[in-house]
Every structure is written in C-alpha cells, then in structure tokens.
Point group: C2
C-alpha cells in the first residue's frame, strides 16, 4: 500500500544540515567522520530508546544490511560508498518494517517502490549520506508517522523540554513541550446571551489544555474545538420520534419563525488577570489536537450554552449557539471577559495565547466551525471542518420531506438539543434550568415541524450558507463521500461559496462514512495539518499553501490513490443525459413512452421482517426480489471505459401518486460483482502512533479490499410531490395528478469501473431515511418525461 | 445493578479519623466546626478539581440537596443534624450519578439500596458525619471505582507526590507516586539456557516500569507479567493447519519424547550495579498493573526466550520456557545477573525491588504463572493467574483427540510458538536464529502429533499439575465459566491440587469467555487485588486474607449476584444420574433399551454452508433441523425447582462406529426461550476509570441481559473411541465394535432456571473443535449402557 506524502517540503542541503544540527542529530564536526563512521553514528542517533553510546552500539547486532551480514559487522569495515541496498535495509528496519514478513533483505528497493517510499540511488559522499538521512527522518514509517515523530515518541526531544521555544523541522513543529506538565484548566467566559432567562448573562465553561511554559512571554496559538458533546451525552436514542406514520398534507405548513433569546450584555474585560483555579477533569478527545498540543498548540474545548458547567439552554443550530461558540474566541483574542469560577468575582485572561486561533472537529464540532467562521470573528485564522453540516435543513430534511441522517431514524433537532443539554446533570443547575429547558424543547419540536417537513424561516435561520460573505479565515473542509449521516450536499454547497471568496481554501474528500481521516495510510494528513497550522497560526513561511492541490479526492477503487483536482463541481465534467426505456434500460438515446407503476407499502414489510436499515438498503440496491418490488429500476449496459461521475446528478421525472400526497426517492447504484473497499477503514495498528512522548496514541487505518458485494450506492435523493411547484412552499395536489419533479441528488465523485452497470432506481419509502407510511400508495412514472443528467469525466 | 463490595475493611472511628487526617481530608481542628460547616467543608474537599477555597465554594450551586434547594443555600442555614436524604443526594452526585437520569432527588436511599450502596440512617453528630464521609470515600462510584480513587484521578494526591512513602487508606495503597515520572527501563537477564545453541547463554530482555522514587532507600514490590506476546505477535493465523481431514488410526502413536535444550550457565551476580541505559519503548498493557504502578508497585514484563530483544527459541510449554520466565524473578530477588545491554559488559541490579514479587496476567500470561509457581522460586509471594492453562494437552487435545481452543481451529503448539518468536523481527537476530528456529518448528509439529492426538511424554513435560508440590506462594485463580479457549478443566484440575497445599488460595469464576474481570460492576476485584498485594508484597496487616470467601462464583442468571463457596468440586453437590430413554427423554429412573444411530458427515455440510463456527454451534444446540441431524439428543422435563449443576459431569456410553476409528462428542445444553446474559461484558463507560492521575484508563463493564435465545451450552467433552481402554494409550478397534467410553465433561457451575430443560446431546464432529472428517461414519449408541452422572445443589 502506498504511503503517499504531500507534506515533505523540498529543502536545500545547507538548510538540511542546519536543521539536523539544530535537533542535535548531526554533530558539528561531521566532516571529520569517515562515511562509514557517520553512517553508524546516524543510525545510532535514530535509535532514541538507547540512551548511552554503549547501548546504541550494542543495538547494531539487531540490524541486518544483507541476508548474511549484521550492521555491527558492516560498520567494522570501511566503505567508500554506502551500498543503497545496505542503507535501505537498515532504513526499513528503522521505519519499523519486519524482514521476511514485510520485505526481503535481497531487494529493499522493490519494496520501497511498492510503498511509495522515497530513496536515493547513490550514497557515495558525506553530503549524500546527510541528505539521505534528512529524507529518511522525514519519511513515513510503517505506523504512518514520520520517522522523526517515531523518534519523538521514544523521547528523542526530551532534552529540548523546558527550553521555551518552538522548534521546526522540514517546516513542521516538533514536540519539544513537556507533555508530562500540560496545563489543564477551566475558566468561565461571560456571554451576551441569557438563554435561560434568569436575568443574568450565561456563563460558558471553557476547558484549556495548553503547553507547559506557555505564557505571556511564550504565547502559543490555540486550536479551539466547539464540542456540544464535551460535557457529556444524554442518551435519549430510545425516545426517537416514530417514523412509522403516514405523510401529512404539506399545506398544513405555517412557516414557523425563528425566535431570538434575550440578551444581557456581559461585563467588559478589565485589567485584572487571576490564574485559573479549577482544573480540567475532562481529557482532550481528538488525537489531532493532542498531537499538536505536544508541538506547542493549546487545545481549547467548550460545549457552549446548555452544556455541563455552563448556563443556558441548548438551542441546536440557532444563532445563539453560534454566538456562544464564537464568544470563546473573543476571550482567547482578548476581546471578552472570563472568570475563574461561576461566582464571577475573579477575571482571568488568555494571556498565554498569541491571538491566533484555529478550529478543529468533526460533525457537530465541524458544523460550529462553519457557523463561527461566518461571523468573521477577530482571531480566527483558519478552520479545518470535518463532516460538517452547512444547513440544518440539509441534515434533518430534504426537498420538503423529513429525511433522517443514516442510522438516526426519528432523531431530530429537539432530541439532539436534549442530548447536549448536559447541564441538567448538575443537579443544582437543573433546578433552575429544567422548566425553561422543557419549554424550549416543546418549541423546537413544534417549529422544526416534523409534520410537513417543509423549509421555513425557522430553518432559514439555521442555514450558515447565507452568511459565507462574512468568512475571513482560511478554510479546509474534510468530508466522506459515503457520509450518509451528514450528507455530502452540506460540504458541496458551502464549497461552491467558499471557493469564490478571497481566502485560502482546500477540500479533502475521502471514501469513509461519517469519519475523520487524520491517520490514514494513503495520505499524510496529520503532517499536512502540522504544516498548515504552523503557517496559519505561527506565521512561519513554510510553503504550506503550495504543498498540495486545492481538492484531494480519494479514489473509490484504490484507497491509496488520491485524485488531485482544482475544484469539485459539475463543471469539472461533461454533461450527459440518460433516459429510462420501456424495457427498463437506461440509455443515452431516447425515452421510453410507457407509464410504469409500482406500489409502495411504506414500512409494513420492513417492520415485519425485523431486518436492519442497512441490511434493507443492501438488499434493495442489489435488486433482491422481495425488497425491489416497490420500485422501478433502469440499468445501463456494462461500462467499457472507466467513467467518473462528478458533482450533483439531477433527475427530472413526471409522477402521479394514488393519494393527494407522496414522496419520491431516487438512487443511483453501481452494479457489479466485485470486491469493494471496506465501508470504514480497517485498524492496522491499534494505538501504534505516538502523539508525543508518553502522551496519547492514535491508530493507523485504511480502507482495504473487502469481500465480494453485488452493488454499491453512489448517491440518492428524496422529494415531496407537494413541492413540485416550489421547493420552499407546498402545493395542494390531487390523487393521480401527474406532477413534474426536478431535483438534484447528493454530490459524488465516483469511478464506474469497466464491467459495471449504472442503475437508476425510482422508489418511495426509504426505510432508513424517509417516514415509513402505514398505507399503500401507487406511484406511476411517465417515462416520456423522465430523464437523468449528470456530469462525468 | 448491584455494586457489590468485598474490599471494604471495617474500621474503628478513631482509625478513620487518623486516616482522614493523614490524607489531609479532615482538618485537625475539626471539632471546632459546626456540623453544617464541616459538612460543607468535606463536600468541598471531595471536589478535587477545584483548587482554591473560592472555586470550591462556587461549585456549591451545582449540587442539590432536594428537589428545590441547592447545596449553597442549604449550607447557609445551621442544621442540628444532616438530613440523610440531603446528605445522600449530594453523595450520589459526588459519586457521579445524574439526577433524574439515574435517580430521583425525592428518594436517594431507594436508589442506594437498589445499587447495594452503603449509607447511614442518621448523621446527627460530628463523629457520625466523619464516619459517613469515611464510608463514602470508600464507596464505589458510578464508574466502579472508589470515590477516593475518583478523587485521585482528579489530582487529589498530587501534593503527596515525591514524599517517598507508601500511603494506605482502608487497607489499600493510594496513588501517591508521581506518574508523570514513571521510570521505564530495559535490562537483559542472563539465562542458564542456550536454546539457540550458539554456545552462549541466552539473554532475556526485561522491561521495567517502576514508580518515581523507587530505589534502594525506597524499595518497592514488583508485579511481574511473563508475556510471550510483549515483543509483538507474528500473525500466522492464515497458516493454521487444516482440520478438514479424516481421523487417523491412533495406534500410529509412537509416544514422542520431550527433548531438553542445551545448558550454558550464566555468570554469577557480582557487586557492580550500573543504571539501566535503555529506555522502554513498550507500554504497560494491563490496566491492573498500571493501577498498582500508580500506587507504588513496579510492573515488570518479559517475553522470555525467542521474543523480540531476547535470544533463543520459543519452545511453547516446555520446561525451558518455565525456566526463562522464572529467571526474571531470580534477578528481581537478587539471585541472578542482568546487564544493561546485549554486550554483557555492565551488570545492573534490581536494587529498587523489595524482593517481594507477585505475578499477574491472563491466558498464556496466566499459564506462565502456574509454570513459575511450581518451581517454588524464592521471591515469588503470590500469583493471580487468569484464564490459565495448567496442562498444554488440555489446551490443544482431549481424551486422545485433537481439540481446538474456541475460534482457533487448526492452531497448535508450533503455530503459537511461531506467533511468539518475535526476535525474528530483529533482522540481525534473525540471521542467526532462523535455521535453529526452523528445525525447532519441525520438531514441535512432529512431537505434538496432530496425527494421533494422543497423550505422550512430550505432553507430560508440559503438564504443570505434576509439579504443584513445589508451590510456595499464595494463589488466586480467575477463570470464565464460559471460556472455551482455555477450557475450565485447566483451572479446575489445578485447583483440586492447590486447595490441598498449605498456602492461601482463592478462586474467582465469572460468566465471561476468555476474559479478565478487573473492571466489572458486580464485584470490586481491583480493590481486592490492591488489598491482596498490599498484604502479600508490602506485608501490611490489612485483613486481606479474611475479606472474601475462598471461592466466588458469578451467577449465570443475575450478573450482580456472586455465590460464596468454600470449594469448587463435585463434592459441593449431591450426585444424580440421568438415563437416556428410547423416547429420547432424559430421566432419573431407568435406561432405554434401544440402540440408536446417527450418521456423522464430518465437516462437509458445514463447509458448504459457509457459516461461522459459532453460528453452527448455536444452531446445533438449538436443535435446528439441518444441523441437529447428525446427533442424538435426550431431554428432561422442565425443571420445577432451580438446580445448580456443579463440578464435572461424567458420561458413560457404549458406542460403535462404522469405521475402525471414531470420535464422540457429548454436550449438556440448557433449553428455554429466555433472555440470557451477554456473552461478553457490555462496556458501560469507555475509559471511565482513571488508573492514576493523568495516567491510563480502564472501562467499566458487566454482563447484561441480552436478546432472547433458545438454548445455552453448559458444558461439553470429546473422546477418541480408540482410547476406550486407556486414556493414555490407543487400542486397535474394529468397525462396528461396541466400546465403553467413560469420560468427564468440562467443569461447570450452572443454575438451571425453573422452566428450563436439560438436554444431553451425543454427536461426533464438533465443527469448532474436532477434526472435520471428509468421510461419513455411522455411530450407534447402546442406550442400555449409557448414563450421565453429575453433582447438583
């Protein structure tokens, strides 16, 4: 498997020498050494766990330079040049590979080629040896980390602890901060909100993990994660709303309005600065933050309104939520007051912060990055938003329908708000907050309007894409192309706006579901983030902005291949149109003329069968006789050339339902019997990555070929028949009335392999996402007025 | 669920006061406080994360004493006595419970009863308040840990770091050692073995994690885990032997002999003592050791011969393996030499060790405890052997048959030895070791004799039970009653010997499979181990030996119920005999007369069906038509009183096979449609237990009621027809010759609930454990000469 590397910065030899000397790896008198001596010395330097010259020397018998010779013996003779085979046999052992089990001593270079590991053809001089070692220390080990980071995990940089300065190597920050003395403290930021309506501004608890030595004299950047889950998660999954109910007439819609919470202005920051007096009991949960904490970046977590230790109510998606998340940055930047405890007596400042803040986090935590970024708050320099929601309507609704995130049938805004209302766990707070909380829950349920599923002013206030003009920070989005929880439309639509702004912007699309990607084999994402944050938050000119293409997309056939694109949009492909035929084919020339029907049974068969939603989906897309019945499906011939579907496929279809209401689902599916990649990455080395020295760990992982399957979902979409005239306003329809629907499916970037077929499936009830009616409805499709457009390359 | 507690030591008030003052919890002038003041103070003391008086006071608003009053307000008034409801409402919040979600403020005591949490009825005086708090600090929190340990996890004992002394509370050691400065070092113990036959004694790499401050002046005990997996695991599962083959004639047996490896005596310890010069790159992997490391116990790991960093060959189960594991204790006790590195130049001593050593670990790691204990090595004071093998024949063979550990079909001694031969990963070592290793592998395969499956001198040398007379240390065994990897016979048979020795001995039997139990809800095992090791290795008179019954057995119906027994043996029950009838009943009065047959198809149907072994087993015991066909099954009436089957059921049966060879399997199964416990404990709070302060974590877990199932395996056993005359020597048999088999099944302690039925199943091929012949064989059972005995209570 290829260990692709984008974060290696090409460096002139002189700078390499300087950097190697700055980390005490290369002795200042290196030119006095013979080539063989220096080779031996540098190997020994790499063995960070051996602490004395004697113990390093004793280790030389554990390495082999060839099938017959150990390194200790090789070093006894003098060599005019170091045989690359000998060098890379040892190098691979240093990188953590096992002879015979991973590679053969007879041909290390063949293995390096296969793994996409860099090597030099010749090592005949001291300078070539130094260059080879510089590159080796900056090469990814078997565990996915750079060798220099593996050495760090064994304590190489402990002698640098306490020197109170950042240290960079190949443009990236090194872990030179004493992780045994990380400062972990809690403060309370005063908000301008009074969401619990007690007449006092809400306090927001903020938890800070910051490097030992960070101070006014050594200010450090902050990585801030706004995590509504940080205070704990109230498990209410058993109380999810029932989805086993009939559709309602969408014209019952009354356009619920967003209603603002009261404002009580906070005190202005003053001059006093007391040290924090409460220690954090939580721990950093996000490996990327921990990795960077060891390298000098503070890690700041706040749950925001309604979460444990904070005042107020959780109002998921609302402007108040954005405000409370943003206010933490204002404190970090020196523009807002915070206190040492909830008595509000002692002010405390983030004087340890250099005023440059980045945001990290996935899902809801990524969502709040988009939210906060749109405020243009001072101090926020960059966001790395993973699997984020850009409009809450696109999370819980679609085209006039209630549409669940994957594996979350019946979940909704009110329940998510309850999940995060963890200040109810503080019994004293609960006494005060409970009645207000209950009223808010009732409002959220009513206004989110599960009855009609329609867009409204309530949802409009939860669409961050209206405010992208406010964004001033640089931008990185990360999303899984198979994320059916936060569906890819969320990242796609915000990307179309962000890419037009005068800010640096990047997009990573991986093959996972609702997942992050900082420890994949196939790309050095963590190293890229190191480079990026050093550039954005420490303002070091390390070329981060030029190191990798704007859009990086992981291939769906080969996990270790990444497509380098300038954009992700329809426009990177050419438009094609497919038509369904009377013979159930899908072809480019000409429609069928028939009107074809299917009878939808809602959720009745599904519930009786007691199978899981994912089982249903797989059987359904495979065309299993029982489950495929309530659908129409049109299939192309086998592809004879590989084609990649890009952007958002669009369906136009004329349909009539036998009731005066109805929902249509459309899926595109790749059909072929073949071994596809695993749905989630396989753990390759559990806990095998050291984030610092005696600190946290992460696990190397990658998508790998899995057992044979028959089909794979590419994309899908859903639409309410009553929105045929206007996506934002329902119309009355009659039973059997034909209406013209026109909607886009979720965006994709999907390579159809040779020999596969594309299937267009038209159906109604989607057991895992739509409501599941209790009544039958017959849907009739007029093929003459039905067509599929998409862009391909 | 009941949080049972055995490790609480009843303590007189005066000692409670002394202990509370020794940990700076109770002020020396406590009698000057009013009752209310002292209540407030002690609550604040408990909130270890708030570091100043002000921040502690600010926290008082987060607690509620009743449905309407917060603690801050309650403390403003003076109370003549503390209302127990108010006290325990606060206490439960301190213990981590959530109001409304876990319990109601209106009735905290009802909840405490349900959870088996201790409480006082009256708190009317200072002394009663102190007593209530002492008990509270020693009460198990929601996360399963004592409240004092939860406080420790928040840094309560940091002020005690560096004081260079142990501190005890309620008989248990407290975490007062600086876990940010754990000393982690590697040394090389010189063995008397030369298993790789290079003419030099093998060096054994030993990894030590020891408390900061441990030294000649502050010697500490050592918990030693002999772990063949510590150096890494060579994944060879794909090369497991095929089990899809016919049985062989067992008389091909040639009684393979154990063959000793060469001896090269090590140097004697001298006077020199250099500090270790190599740092450990591994981490402690066993949470119990980590927990105790924070409390002053060193944690020592060694892989032994053949593992990474060590010389020699892995010879699984052999006396050499025992010797190499034992030699580490000899070094810890001062009786053997070790070096700082593999050059053997600098001697290094375990001068930091007090000479008292305990052993811990599960499976192979538990096995080596039994092995080492039988040597009676000086310094070894106690073993806590979990899920351990006591005879290797009982792991890979049974009654003349090749019988796999669960989920390990085709694995054998040679493959396990390969798995652990991790010094092949040191390329330099591999050059030397590989040829010897290959020869050893060949010998192991031949001598372990997968062809006949018979006992032999080779296996005899791997039966630790022959050497139990040598045991001098105290003994704790832990085993899962559903462990089908290391089957319960291993612990049962060694227990029958150990219980007769003049040593302290205990046995824990839980409801898990191949699992450990140090973080179950239903029992405070970790606290018991703390008490135990303090008693055994620090020689503190804390009553550990009287705190819990000799044998503790978890109930199979209610996970939070533990049976307290004096022994585990047939003798704790009364003997009953059941007979199979012609009508396929199983009853107490009188045999059937018929000769009944079934045709065994070996593994043919199983392989065609492509189902897992565990799926097969469940369908098979349920009597699924297809899978039950090659078996005879006899079933009792429904039990009308609960009965517990104890010890080892015994089957006598007269059987003929249609071939001149054959294997018989017998299972006892409980039949009833009911919700049984999960097979493995459910994780209740992932990482929710702090093992120290900013150290490792563990996860609270417990068996919980799972979905309805139809049947559960109680026990089973297997026997080769050719051993009908002698378990240790095969006989020729003829086709269709009736032979009398008499063998015992795996031991059990299984409560048959009212309404369940007991089924006796006679079959041949056990898809998950026996060989799976390619040929059919008809087995005929003579019911008139078949009976089942067992003991029940």
């Amino acid at each position: 498997m290829k260990y692709n590397q984008y974060a290696y910065v090409t460096t002139p030899l002189e700078k390499e020498i300087n950097e190697l000397q700055a980390i005490d790896f290369l002795p200042s008198n290196y030119s006095n050494y013979s080539l063989t001596e220096l080779f031996g010395l540098l190997v020994k330097q790499t063995i960070a766990e051996a602490k004395t010259a004697e113990s390093k020397t004793a280790k030389m018998i554990e390495f082999a330079v060839s099938e017959t010779t150990v390194l200790a013996d090789y070093l006894k003779e003098s060599h005019d040049s170091i045989n690359p085979k000998a060098f890379y046999n040892v190098a691979l052992q240093l990188l953590g590979y096992h002879v015979e089990y991973d590679y053969q001593l007879s041909d290390p270079l063949a293995f390096m080629k296969k793994q996409a590991l860099p090597y030099k053809e010749e090592i005949g001089s001291i300078n070539e040896l130094i260059d080879a070692f510089y590159r080796l220390l900056n090469t990814r080990s078997k565990n996915g980390q750079l060798l220099i980071d593996v050495m760090a995990g064994k304590g190489y940089f402990v002698p640098f602890w306490g020197k109170k300065q950042f240290l960079f190597f190949n443009g990236k920050a090194l872990p030179v901060f004493d992780t045994s003395k990380v400062i972990r403290e809690v403060v309370y930021v005063e908000s301008d909100l009074d969401t619990d309506e007690d007449g006092k501004s809400d306090l927001i608890q903020v938890t800070i993990f910051r490097p030992a030595g960070s101070s006014k004299e050594l200010p450090v950047p902050a990585l801030y994660t706004a995590s509504p889950y940080f205070g704990g998660i109230i498990d209410n999954v058993k109380r999810n709303h029932s989805v086993d109910e009939n559709l309602s007439d969408a014209t019952l819609w009354s356009n619920p309005q967003y209603q603002a919470a009261p404002i009580v202005s906070a005190n202005q920051p003053r001059d006093s600065d007391a040290p924090a007096s409460e220690e954090a009991v939580h721990k950093g949960s996000y490996p990327l933050n921990e990795y960077l904490l060891a390298r000098g970046f503070a890690s700041v977590f706040a749950g925001g309104i309604g979460t444990r230790g904070s005042d107020g109510l959780r109002i998921t998606g609302a402007p108040e939520e954005t405000e409370s998340a943003k206010e933490v940055i204002e404190w970090l930047h020196g523009d807002r007051i915070a206190y040492t405890d909830r008595s509000r007596t002692q002010e405390t400042k983030a004087s340890w912060c250099n005023g440059n803040i980045g945001m990290t986090g996935r899902s809801y935590l990524g969502t709040l990055q988009i939210a906060v970024a749109t405020t243009g708050v001072a101090g926020l320099k960059t966001v790395v938003s993973e699997a984020a929601i850009s409009s809450w309507y696109d999370y819980y609704r679609e085209h006039g329908l209630v549409i669940a995130p994957e594996a979350c049938q019946g979940e909704d805004l009110d329940l998510l708000a309850e999940t995060c209302q963890s200040n109810l766990w503080d019994a004293g707070s609960a006494i005060k907050v409970k009645p207000k909380y209950e009223a808010m829950q009732k409002r959220l349920l009513e206004k989110s309007d599960r009855i009609t599923g329609q867009y409204s002013d309530f949802w409009e206030a939860r669409n961050y894409r209206h405010h992208t003009d406010g964004i001033k920070c640089s931008w990185i989005s990360v999303h899984g192309l198979n994320d059916w929880n936060v569906k890819p439309k969320n990242v796609y639509k915000v990307w179309q706006k962000v890419k037009q702004l005068p800010i640096k912007h990047h997009l990573f699309l991986h093959q996972g579901p609702h997942y992050n990607m900082n420890n994949l084999v196939s790309i050095d994402f963590t190293d890229l983030m190191n480079l990026w944050f050093v550039h954005e938050l420490l303002e070091v000119d390390n070329h981060a902005e030029k190191q990798w293409p704007t859009v990086m997309i992981q291939d769906n056939l080969q996990a270790d291949k990444w497509h380098e694109e300038n954009d992700w949009a329809d426009e990177i492909g050419q438009k094609v149109t497919y038509y369904p035929t009377d013979e159930l084919d899908l072809q480019k020339d000409g429609n069928g003329k028939a009107k074809l029907s299917f009878v939808d049974h809602g959720g009745q068969d599904f519930k009786a069968a007691k199978i899981s939603e994912s089982d249903w989906q797989y059987k359904f897309i495979c065309g299993d006789e029982k489950w495929a019945k309530p659908s129409l499906r049109f299939t192309t011939e086998e592809y004879i050339h590989p084609v990649t579907i890009v952007g958002r496929p669009e369906i136009k279809l004329r349909v009539a339902g036998s009731l005066p209401k109805g929902q249509i689902s459309v899926a595109l599916v790749e059909i072929a019997d073949r071994k596809r990649l695993t749905a989630t990455p396989k753990f390759l080395m559990r806990g095998g990555q050291e984030l610092g020295y005696r600190f946290g760990t992460d696990t190397l992982q990658e998508f790998v070929p899995d057992k044979l399957t028959h089909a794979k979902l590419i994309t899908k979409g859903h639409m309410n028949l009553q929105n045929y005239q206007d996506m934002k306003k329902p119309s009355k329809i009659k039973a059997d009335q034909f209406v013209d629907l026109d909607f886009k499916l979720q965006p994709t970037y999907y390579q159809m392999p040779v020999g596969s077929k594309l299937a267009l499936i038209v159906y109604s009830t989607d057991q895992g996402m739509t409501k599941r009616p209790l009544e039958d409805e017959t849907y009739t499709i007029d093929l003459a007025n039905t067509e599929l457009h998409f862009y391909q390359k």
